[in-house]
Symmetry: C2
Subunit: 168 residues, 2 copies
Amino acid sequence: MKLSEAKAQFIQAWGLLGAQWGVNRTMAQIHALLLIAPDPLSAEEIMEALDISRGNANMNVRELMNWGIVEKILVPGERKEFFVAEKDIWKVGIAIARERKKRELDPVLKVLLQLNKVEGDQKDKHVKAFRETIQNIQKFANQTDAALNAFIKSEENWFYSTLLKVIR
Amino acid sequence: MKLSEAKAQFIQAWGLLGAQWGVNRTMAQIHALLLIAPDPLSAEEIMEALDISRGNANMNVRELMNWGIVEKILVPGERKEFFVAEKDIWKVGIAIARERKKRELDPVLKVLLQLNKVEGDQKDKHVKAFRETIQNIQKFANQTDAALNAFIKSEENWFYSTLLKVIR
DNA sequence: TTTATATTTCAATAAGTTTTGAAAGTTCAA
DNA sequence: TTGAACTTTCAAAACTTATTGAAATATAAA
Protein backbone atom coordinates (compact mmCIF):
# COMPACT_ATOMS: atom_id res chain seq x y z
CA MET A 1 0.00 0.00 0.00
CA LYS A 2 1.24 3.47 -0.90
CA LEU A 3 1.72 6.07 1.81
CA SER A 4 -0.82 8.48 0.31
CA GLU A 5 -3.43 5.74 0.22
CA ALA A 6 -2.66 4.65 3.76
CA LYS A 7 -2.92 8.22 5.01
CA ALA A 8 -6.30 8.66 3.37
CA GLN A 9 -7.54 5.43 4.91
CA PHE A 10 -6.34 6.39 8.34
CA ILE A 11 -7.98 9.82 8.18
CA GLN A 12 -11.20 8.24 7.04
CA ALA A 13 -11.16 5.61 9.80
CA TRP A 14 -10.37 8.13 12.51
CA GLY A 15 -13.17 10.39 11.26
CA LEU A 16 -15.64 7.54 11.35
CA LEU A 17 -14.61 6.60 14.86
CA GLY A 18 -14.99 10.19 15.98
CA ALA A 19 -18.44 10.44 14.48
CA GLN A 20 -19.58 7.37 16.39
CA TRP A 21 -18.32 9.01 19.55
CA GLY A 22 -20.37 12.12 19.02
CA VAL A 23 -17.34 14.06 17.85
CA ASN A 24 -17.63 16.12 14.71
CA ARG A 25 -16.21 14.09 11.83
CA THR A 26 -14.08 16.94 10.53
CA MET A 27 -12.58 17.55 13.93
CA ALA A 28 -11.48 13.93 14.11
CA GLN A 29 -10.07 14.08 10.57
CA ILE A 30 -8.02 17.16 11.32
CA HIS A 31 -6.71 15.39 14.38
CA ALA A 32 -5.78 12.35 12.28
CA LEU A 33 -4.05 14.55 9.72
CA LEU A 34 -1.97 16.26 12.39
CA LEU A 35 -1.17 12.96 14.12
CA ILE A 36 0.59 11.60 11.07
CA ALA A 37 2.19 14.85 9.95
CA PRO A 38 5.94 14.93 10.60
CA ASP A 39 5.87 18.74 10.75
CA PRO A 40 3.41 21.39 11.93
CA LEU A 41 0.68 22.25 9.43
CA SER A 42 -0.84 25.64 8.64
CA ALA A 43 -4.56 26.33 8.30
CA GLU A 44 -4.03 26.46 4.52
CA GLU A 45 -2.49 23.02 4.46
CA ILE A 46 -5.30 21.54 6.53
CA MET A 47 -7.93 23.13 4.27
CA GLU A 48 -6.16 21.78 1.24
CA ALA A 49 -5.56 18.28 2.56
CA LEU A 50 -9.14 17.73 3.69
CA ASP A 51 -10.86 19.95 1.15
CA ILE A 52 -12.73 22.01 3.71
CA SER A 53 -13.42 25.72 4.09
CA ARG A 54 -11.38 28.16 6.10
CA GLY A 55 -14.17 28.66 8.66
CA ASN A 56 -14.60 24.96 9.18
CA ALA A 57 -10.87 24.42 9.62
CA ASN A 58 -10.57 27.30 12.06
CA MET A 59 -13.52 26.20 14.16
CA ASN A 60 -12.44 22.60 14.51
CA VAL A 61 -8.78 23.36 15.15
CA ARG A 62 -9.90 25.65 17.96
CA GLU A 63 -12.05 22.88 19.42
CA LEU A 64 -9.10 20.47 19.28
CA MET A 65 -7.06 23.02 21.19
CA ASN A 66 -9.87 23.29 23.76
CA TRP A 67 -9.61 19.55 24.25
CA GLY A 68 -5.91 20.01 24.82
CA ILE A 69 -4.78 17.61 22.10
CA VAL A 70 -3.62 20.15 19.51
CA GLU A 71 -1.34 23.10 20.01
CA LYS A 72 -0.74 26.28 18.07
CA ILE A 73 2.92 26.99 17.39
CA LEU A 74 4.71 29.90 15.83
CA VAL A 75 7.41 29.23 13.29
CA PRO A 76 10.11 31.91 13.34
CA GLY A 77 9.99 34.05 10.24
CA GLU A 78 6.41 33.06 9.37
CA ARG A 79 3.28 35.16 9.76
CA LYS A 80 1.05 32.12 9.68
CA GLU A 81 0.12 29.97 12.65
CA PHE A 82 0.96 26.29 12.60
CA PHE A 83 -0.60 23.38 14.44
CA VAL A 84 0.70 20.16 15.93
CA ALA A 85 -1.10 17.27 17.62
CA GLU A 86 0.00 15.62 20.83
CA LYS A 87 1.67 12.48 19.53
CA ASP A 88 1.59 10.41 22.71
CA ILE A 89 -1.63 8.46 22.34
CA TRP A 90 -1.69 7.77 26.06
CA LYS A 91 -1.89 11.51 26.73
CA VAL A 92 -4.49 11.90 24.03
CA GLY A 93 -6.58 9.22 25.69
CA ILE A 94 -6.30 10.96 29.03
CA ALA A 95 -7.29 14.32 27.56
CA ILE A 96 -10.31 12.78 25.89
CA ALA A 97 -11.32 10.93 29.04
CA ARG A 98 -11.04 14.13 31.06
CA GLU A 99 -13.16 16.09 28.62
CA ARG A 100 -15.85 13.46 28.30
CA LYS A 101 -16.03 12.90 32.03
CA LYS A 102 -16.54 16.61 32.54
CA ARG A 103 -19.22 16.86 29.88
CA GLU A 104 -21.04 13.61 30.44
CA LEU A 105 -20.45 11.75 33.65
CA ASP A 106 -20.27 14.68 36.05
CA PRO A 107 -23.67 16.14 35.10
CA VAL A 108 -25.26 12.70 35.43
CA LEU A 109 -23.79 12.22 38.89
CA LYS A 110 -25.23 15.57 39.88
CA VAL A 111 -28.72 14.67 38.67
CA LEU A 112 -28.61 11.27 40.35
CA LEU A 113 -27.78 12.88 43.66
CA GLN A 114 -30.88 15.07 43.33
CA LEU A 115 -33.12 12.19 42.35
CA ASN A 116 -32.33 10.30 45.52
CA LYS A 117 -34.47 12.83 47.31
CA VAL A 118 -37.67 11.57 45.73
CA GLU A 119 -40.57 11.51 48.20
CA GLY A 120 -43.08 8.77 48.63
CA ASP A 121 -44.17 5.60 50.30
CA GLN A 122 -41.44 2.97 50.22
CA LYS A 123 -44.16 0.35 49.84
CA ASP A 124 -45.40 1.81 46.56
CA LYS A 125 -43.79 -0.37 43.92
CA HIS A 126 -43.28 2.59 41.60
CA VAL A 127 -41.33 4.45 44.24
CA LYS A 128 -39.42 1.32 45.13
CA ALA A 129 -38.44 0.51 41.55
CA PHE A 130 -37.38 4.10 40.94
CA ARG A 131 -35.19 4.33 44.04
CA GLU A 132 -33.55 1.01 43.37
CA THR A 133 -32.71 1.91 39.79
CA ILE A 134 -31.31 5.29 40.76
CA GLN A 135 -29.20 3.83 43.52
CA ASN A 136 -27.81 1.09 41.29
CA ILE A 137 -26.90 3.52 38.58
CA GLN A 138 -25.33 5.79 41.13
CA LYS A 139 -23.16 3.00 42.45
CA PHE A 140 -22.03 2.08 38.97
CA ALA A 141 -21.43 5.69 38.00
CA ASN A 142 -19.34 6.32 41.10
CA GLN A 143 -17.16 3.31 40.35
CA THR A 144 -16.71 4.50 36.79
CA ASP A 145 -15.86 7.95 38.09
CA ALA A 146 -13.19 6.49 40.37
CA ALA A 147 -11.69 4.44 37.54
CA LEU A 148 -11.64 7.44 35.22
CA ASN A 149 -10.06 9.65 37.85
CA ALA A 150 -7.32 7.10 38.34
CA PHE A 151 -6.79 6.94 34.60
CA ILE A 152 -6.66 10.72 34.31
CA LYS A 153 -4.22 11.04 37.16
CA SER A 154 -1.87 8.48 35.73
CA GLU A 155 0.84 10.24 33.78
CA GLU A 156 2.61 7.00 33.03
CA ASN A 157 1.64 3.56 31.90
CA TRP A 158 1.44 2.05 35.34
CA PHE A 159 -2.32 2.08 35.34
CA TYR A 160 -2.66 -0.04 32.27
CA SER A 161 0.17 -2.37 33.04
CA THR A 162 -1.14 -2.99 36.53
CA LEU A 163 -4.62 -3.40 35.20
CA LEU A 164 -3.50 -5.93 32.66
CA LYS A 165 -1.70 -7.95 35.29
CA VAL A 166 -4.83 -8.02 37.38
CA ILE A 167 -7.30 -9.04 34.73
CA ARG A 168 -5.31 -11.83 33.18
CA MET B 1 -39.45 16.07 44.85
CA LYS B 2 -42.49 14.22 43.57
CA LEU B 3 -42.08 10.86 41.88
CA SER B 4 -43.56 12.04 38.59
CA GLU B 5 -41.15 14.95 38.48
CA ALA B 6 -38.18 12.76 39.38
CA LYS B 7 -39.11 10.26 36.67
CA ALA B 8 -39.31 13.02 34.07
CA GLN B 9 -35.92 14.35 35.12
CA PHE B 10 -34.34 10.93 34.98
CA ILE B 11 -35.73 10.22 31.52
CA GLN B 12 -34.51 13.58 30.31
CA ALA B 13 -31.01 13.11 31.79
CA TRP B 14 -30.67 9.61 30.37
CA GLY B 15 -31.80 10.83 26.97
CA LEU B 16 -29.21 13.60 27.02
CA LEU B 17 -26.47 11.20 28.00
CA GLY B 18 -27.49 8.87 25.20
CA ALA B 19 -27.41 11.70 22.67
CA GLN B 20 -23.85 12.59 23.66
CA TRP B 21 -22.90 8.97 23.15
CA GLY B 22 -24.23 8.91 19.63
CA VAL B 23 -27.32 7.01 20.70
CA ASN B 24 -30.67 8.20 19.48
CA ARG B 25 -32.27 10.30 22.22
CA THR B 26 -35.59 8.48 22.04
CA MET B 27 -33.91 5.11 22.34
CA ALA B 28 -32.22 6.22 25.54
CA GLN B 29 -35.46 7.65 26.88
CA ILE B 30 -37.36 4.43 26.26
CA HIS B 31 -34.58 2.62 28.05
CA ALA B 32 -34.85 5.01 31.01
CA LEU B 33 -38.61 4.59 31.11
CA LEU B 34 -38.32 0.80 31.19
CA LEU B 35 -35.54 0.90 33.78
CA ILE B 36 -37.73 2.61 36.34
CA ALA B 37 -40.96 0.79 35.47
CA PRO B 38 -41.92 -1.79 38.09
CA ASP B 39 -43.85 -3.80 35.50
CA PRO B 40 -43.47 -4.55 31.79
CA LEU B 41 -44.80 -1.83 29.49
CA SER B 42 -46.65 -2.20 26.19
CA ALA B 43 -45.90 -0.23 23.04
CA GLU B 44 -49.01 1.86 23.75
CA GLU B 45 -47.77 2.78 27.20
CA ILE B 46 -44.36 3.79 25.89
CA MET B 47 -45.93 5.91 23.16
CA GLU B 48 -48.16 7.57 25.71
CA ALA B 49 -45.49 8.17 28.34
CA LEU B 50 -42.99 9.74 25.94
CA ASP B 51 -45.49 11.22 23.50
CA ILE B 52 -43.98 9.55 20.44
CA SER B 53 -45.44 7.79 17.45
CA ARG B 54 -46.00 4.09 17.05
CA GLY B 55 -43.31 3.76 14.40
CA ASN B 56 -40.75 5.55 16.48
CA ALA B 57 -41.51 3.43 19.53
CA ASN B 58 -41.33 0.23 17.52
CA MET B 59 -38.06 1.10 15.84
CA ASN B 60 -36.25 2.09 19.01
CA VAL B 61 -37.55 -0.78 21.12
CA ARG B 62 -36.27 -3.12 18.45
CA GLU B 63 -32.86 -1.46 18.55
CA LEU B 64 -32.76 -1.80 22.35
CA MET B 65 -33.48 -5.50 21.91
CA ASN B 66 -30.63 -5.73 19.40
CA TRP B 67 -28.35 -4.30 22.04
CA GLY B 68 -29.57 -7.00 24.39
CA ILE B 69 -30.72 -4.63 27.13
CA VAL B 70 -34.47 -4.87 26.59
CA GLU B 71 -36.55 -7.99 26.25
CA LYS B 72 -39.95 -8.68 24.77
CA ILE B 73 -42.19 -10.66 27.07
CA LEU B 74 -45.60 -12.18 26.57
CA VAL B 75 -48.17 -11.76 29.29
CA PRO B 76 -50.58 -14.72 29.41
CA GLY B 77 -54.03 -13.74 28.23
CA GLU B 78 -52.80 -10.61 26.41
CA ARG B 79 -52.41 -10.18 22.69
CA LYS B 80 -50.04 -7.28 23.13
CA GLU B 81 -46.32 -7.57 23.54
CA PHE B 82 -44.69 -6.12 26.61
CA PHE B 83 -41.16 -4.94 27.22
CA VAL B 84 -38.79 -4.99 30.17
CA ALA B 85 -35.28 -3.62 30.58
CA GLU B 86 -32.40 -5.46 32.15
CA LYS B 87 -32.32 -3.94 35.63
CA ASP B 88 -28.79 -4.92 36.60
CA ILE B 89 -26.77 -1.90 35.56
CA TRP B 90 -23.61 -3.97 35.58
CA LYS B 91 -25.07 -6.20 32.89
CA VAL B 92 -26.29 -3.19 30.97
CA GLY B 93 -22.79 -1.76 31.04
CA ILE B 94 -21.37 -5.02 29.74
CA ALA B 95 -23.92 -5.21 26.94
CA ILE B 96 -23.18 -1.66 25.89
CA ALA B 97 -19.42 -2.22 26.04
CA ARG B 98 -19.77 -5.37 23.94
CA GLU B 99 -21.87 -3.62 21.33
CA ARG B 100 -19.65 -0.55 21.10
CA LYS B 101 -16.50 -2.63 20.93
CA LYS B 102 -17.97 -4.61 18.07
CA ARG B 103 -19.08 -1.51 16.19
CA GLU B 104 -16.18 0.80 16.92
CA LEU B 105 -12.99 -0.69 18.23
CA ASP B 106 -12.90 -3.88 16.16
CA PRO B 107 -13.14 -2.12 12.77
CA VAL B 108 -10.38 0.30 13.81
CA LEU B 109 -8.11 -2.54 14.86
CA LYS B 110 -8.70 -4.15 11.49
CA VAL B 111 -7.77 -0.99 9.60
CA LEU B 112 -4.68 -0.43 11.72
CA LEU B 113 -3.46 -3.91 10.94
CA GLN B 114 -3.76 -3.12 7.24
CA LEU B 115 -2.02 0.21 7.56
CA ASN B 116 1.08 -1.37 9.02
CA LYS B 117 1.79 -2.68 5.56
CA VAL B 118 2.52 0.75 4.16
CA GLU B 119 5.46 0.73 1.77
CA GLY B 120 8.25 3.21 1.66
CA ASP B 121 11.65 4.30 2.71
CA GLN B 122 12.05 4.22 6.47
CA LYS B 123 14.28 7.28 6.17
CA ASP B 124 11.49 9.39 4.69
CA LYS B 125 10.16 11.39 7.62
CA HIS B 126 6.59 11.14 6.32
CA VAL B 127 6.77 7.37 6.29
CA LYS B 128 8.46 7.33 9.66
CA ALA B 129 5.88 9.61 11.32
CA PHE B 130 3.03 7.59 9.84
CA ARG B 131 4.38 4.23 10.98
CA GLU B 132 5.10 5.46 14.46
CA THR B 133 1.65 6.93 14.90
CA ILE B 134 -0.05 3.81 13.62
CA GLN B 135 2.02 1.57 15.84
CA ASN B 136 1.36 3.67 18.94
CA ILE B 137 -2.35 3.74 18.32
CA GLN B 138 -2.30 0.03 17.70
CA LYS B 139 -0.62 -0.60 21.02
CA PHE B 140 -3.08 1.58 22.84
CA ALA B 141 -6.04 0.04 21.03
CA ASN B 142 -4.90 -3.47 21.83
CA GLN B 143 -4.60 -2.62 25.50
CA THR B 144 -8.07 -1.12 25.46
CA ASP B 145 -9.33 -4.20 23.67
CA ALA B 146 -7.86 -6.44 26.36
CA ALA B 147 -9.39 -4.34 29.13
CA LEU B 148 -12.78 -4.38 27.46
CA ASN B 149 -12.67 -8.10 26.89
CA ALA B 150 -11.93 -8.63 30.54
CA PHE B 151 -14.81 -6.37 31.46
CA ILE B 152 -17.16 -8.18 29.10
CA LYS B 153 -16.14 -11.57 30.38
CA SER B 154 -16.67 -10.62 33.97
CA GLU B 155 -20.15 -11.66 35.00
CA GLU B 156 -19.59 -10.56 38.54
CA ASN B 157 -18.22 -7.53 40.30
CA TRP B 158 -14.75 -8.93 40.87
CA PHE B 159 -13.29 -6.90 38.06
CA TYR B 160 -14.28 -3.59 39.50
CA SER B 161 -13.58 -4.44 43.09
CA THR B 162 -10.11 -5.74 42.23
CA LEU B 163 -9.49 -2.81 39.98
CA LEU B 164 -10.47 -0.38 42.68
CA LYS B 165 -8.17 -2.04 45.16
CA VAL B 166 -5.29 -1.76 42.71
CA ILE B 167 -5.71 1.85 41.74
CA ARG B 168 -6.17 3.32 45.20
C1' DT C 1 0.17 55.36 9.74
C1' DT C 2 -0.93 52.33 5.62
C1' DT C 3 -1.05 48.03 3.43
C1' DA C 4 -0.90 43.27 3.02
C1' DT C 5 -1.64 39.08 5.22
C1' DA C 6 -3.89 36.15 8.43
C1' DT C 7 -7.69 34.86 11.59
C1' DT C 8 -12.35 34.86 13.38
C1' DT C 9 -17.21 35.25 13.16
C1' DC C 10 -21.71 34.21 11.71
C1' DA C 11 -25.91 34.15 8.74
C1' DA C 12 -27.30 31.39 5.10
C1' DT C 13 -27.31 26.95 3.27
C1' DA C 14 -26.39 22.11 2.89
C1' DA C 15 -26.23 17.65 4.75
C1' DG C 16 -27.62 14.34 7.91
C1' DT C 17 -30.76 12.30 11.31
C1' DT C 18 -35.07 11.43 13.53
C1' DT C 19 -39.95 11.23 13.62
C1' DT C 20 -44.41 10.71 11.90
C1' DG C 21 -48.41 8.37 10.29
C1' DA C 22 -50.70 5.80 7.12
C1' DA C 23 -50.45 1.52 4.57
C1' DA C 24 -48.99 -3.16 4.49
C1' DG C 25 -48.16 -7.19 6.97
C1' DT C 26 -48.94 -10.62 10.69
C1' DT C 27 -51.36 -13.36 14.05
C1' DC C 28 -55.01 -15.58 16.19
C1' DA C 29 -59.75 -16.44 17.88
C1' DA C 30 -64.06 -17.41 16.16
C1' DT D 1 -61.57 -18.45 6.00
C1' DT D 2 -62.57 -13.83 8.04
C1' DG D 3 -61.76 -9.83 10.60
C1' DA D 4 -60.10 -7.58 14.74
C1' DA D 5 -55.99 -6.56 17.22
C1' DC D 6 -51.63 -5.73 16.93
C1' DT D 7 -46.84 -4.94 14.70
C1' DT D 8 -43.79 -3.47 11.08
C1' DT D 9 -42.30 -0.70 7.27
C1' DC D 10 -41.04 3.34 4.83
C1' DA D 11 -41.57 7.76 2.20
C1' DA D 12 -42.18 12.35 3.40
C1' DA D 13 -41.68 16.01 6.76
C1' DA D 14 -39.56 18.02 10.75
C1' DC D 15 -35.71 18.83 13.15
C1' DT D 16 -30.70 19.04 14.19
C1' DT D 17 -26.04 19.69 13.13
C1' DA D 18 -22.17 20.90 10.10
C1' DT D 19 -20.24 23.71 6.51
C1' DT D 20 -19.48 27.48 3.60
C1' DG D 21 -17.78 31.87 2.32
C1' DA D 22 -17.74 36.56 2.61
C1' DA D 23 -17.41 40.38 5.89
C1' DA D 24 -15.34 41.93 10.07
C1' DT D 25 -11.48 41.95 12.89
C1' DA D 26 -6.71 41.47 14.15
C1' DT D 27 -1.67 41.66 13.40
C1' DA D 28 2.82 42.72 11.60
C1' DA D 29 5.90 44.64 8.26
C1' DA D 30 6.91 48.60 5.42
